[in-house]
Amino acid sequence: MSTFGGAASRPDFETAVLGELGLLYRVARRLAMNSTDAEDLVGQTLFSAARSWEGFDGRHTRSWLVTILKNQHLKSIRRKASRPKTVSIDDGGELSQGSLDAEIDRRAFVDDILRELDELPEDFRIAVALCDVEQMSYEDVAAALDIPIGTVRSRLFRGRRLLRERLKAWPSDYTAVDGADGKGKE
């Protein structure tokens, strides 16, 4: 959870958001479904956040930024009326020669599981992305999405269930699912 102790210890806007840029980009990727739109979405989010920065109390910066990101995404959807369904595998950084093979394997794995995650309905996808990928608390996710904690849990658990169903079809060991389903709802 990102909070500041008070006005005296409050960092400037760019310092505050730089530490959250990776998270914003990853969540934007889950929302926008491609890297170009994700960058645009984060840029719009930063612009909107900067305009609100003076009035922001400095508490729960991460949740505050995710809320703005979500709202910008909704605005973008309304503008476009539809969104692309394709997922690109990119965003390569500089790779050292020695770790190239391992890095390719790791990225392929991550890309594969994220591709399956991207197939989930948006409400479930974002709950899983924030709770399980970004490891935000239920409370922070509830604040970010402006929904009750019970709804966060419900979306998260259903999202995990849907993702497990998708991963079960994989021949690899992405999950250890071996017919251990059949769990009833609470």
């Binding site: 960058e39 612009f47 849990r153 709802k185 609470e186």
Partner: protein, 73 residues
């Protein structure tokens, strides 16, 4: 049991709920397999957090904000 097992899998189960669920899992192979597979999946999702935008991507995102931000913003 799916809800309690989810809470155990992501570490948010506490107190009596945690104790009850673990006690159940100890005697229920089906729930034990479910919990293990759920933990494995969540652990793999955690790894996706390692994906960071490239330096060029970071600069593009910051530039998009800087070009439209008010002076001193």
């Amino acid at each position: 049991m799916e809800g309690p097992l989810n809470k155990v899998a992501d570490g948010t189960a506490r107190g009596l709920g945690l104790w009850y669920t673990l006690s159940h899992v100890a005697h229920c192979p089906q729930c034990r397999r479910f919990l293990e597979s759920l933990k494995a999946m969540i652990g793999k999702l955690h790894r996706a957090r390692e994906v960071e935008p490239s330096e060029e991507s970071v600069q593009r995102m910051l530039n998009a904000y800087r070009m439209s931000a008010p002076p001193g913003g």
